[in-house]
């Protein structure tokens, strides 16, 4: 089944609901190694995203939906996750401009654009205890599943499994980006909040979000 704008908007709604429900958990993850605002910031950002669509309606153009999400996150999140996730959604939106229905390959291209956006904005790569540690293995698993002939839904499920493994793999990592990096070895032993919200966003893309 192709992914249409209603499916994309349903994903955004599930993401917003999950971020709200898990706000305190994300903030608690952010307190030993960050500045204890990740859950609050992401909840504020996605609440603003839903308010924006309430006001202006949901366009059929999937690229336009994602660009609205990105611009709103950059404006409302307030912490580093604002420009990072904002750039991810803006780049994905640019990759899908004018599309009203997506094939599995097009979803993959948008995920790639989002990941490249995060890497470029944060000047980061895998292994630094960041959202990239969930996104990169997740997106790689997505492409592998599509290449193996699976449909979009099955590929997204594979992506979530790999992303959640990547998220757990951040626990023993030494942070080398963001506030956590200034803690040195004390950053070890904590799951990265950004990797956690990234896995959450990928899970929301499945209907199990």
């Amino acid at each position: 089944m192709p992914v249409d704008s209603a499916a994309v908007f349903a994903w955004i709604q599930r993401a917003a609901a999950q971020l709200h429900a898990r706000r305190d958990e994300l903030t608690q993850l952010d307190s030993p190694i960050g500045d204890a605002d990740h859950g609050v910031n992401m909840d504020r950002g996605f609440t603003a995203v839903l308010a924006k669509f309430d006001l202006q309606g949901v366009p059929a153009d999937i690229g336009a939906i994602l660009k609205t999400v990105g611009a709103t996150l950059v404006s409302t999140v307030g912490g580093a996750s604002g420009p990072l996730y904002g750039t991810a959604f803006l780049r994905a939106g640019m990759a899908l401009a004018g599309k009203e229905s997506l094939s599995g390959e097009e979803v993959g291209a948008a995920l790639d654009a989002a990941l490249e956006g995060v890497k470029a904005r944060g000047k980061a790569h895998a292994g630094e205890k960041t959202m990239i540690d969930a996104l990169e293995p997740g997106i790689a698993a997505y492409h592998a599943a599509i290449a193996a002939g699976q449909d979009t839904s099955a590929a997204l499920t594979a992506a979530v499994d790999a992303a959640e493994q990547g998220m757990r793999d951040t626990i023993p990592m030494l942070a080398t980006k963001g506030r956590a990096s200034y803690l040195g070895e004390r950053s070890i032993g904590h799951q990265d909040p950004g990797a956690t919200s990234s896995a959450l966003l990928l899970r929301a893309m499945t209907d199990k979000g």
């Binding site: 950059v74 999140v77 307030g78 912490g79 580093a80 604002g82 420009p83 750039t87 904005r121 506030r179």
Partner: protein
Amino acid sequence: MTVGIVIVSHSQRLAEGVVEFVSEMAQGPVAIIAAGGKDTGELGTSLEKISRALEAAESGDGVLVLVDVGSAAMTAQVALEALSADRRARIMLSAAPLVEGAFLAAIRASMGSDLASVTAAASEATEMDKGL
């Protein structure tokens, strides 16, 4: 006309304090604009505040942007990307320490120096002699 300066900080009061201090030191007609905190005044950085400050600081000779830490640089980069190539070409982001960089940049800007010179002045902040 002189090069304008934008101070991006997570704290509204910190940004305003840097502007207060540096404006006094510059003793000249330099537009030094604060872009601190979120729109609500809470700690954080705001795309809107930075975009407005970039506009307010631009007199035609360009703008130097100084940032504190973390998302300040990233949010400033996003603000720049939203501008036309022409305007973006007249804006520089400085990696200099916020207070010292703004201090040196403001004095250089007050002399009527161009954007490249003001940017170079800010970058001298890392080796600033404090008499210690």
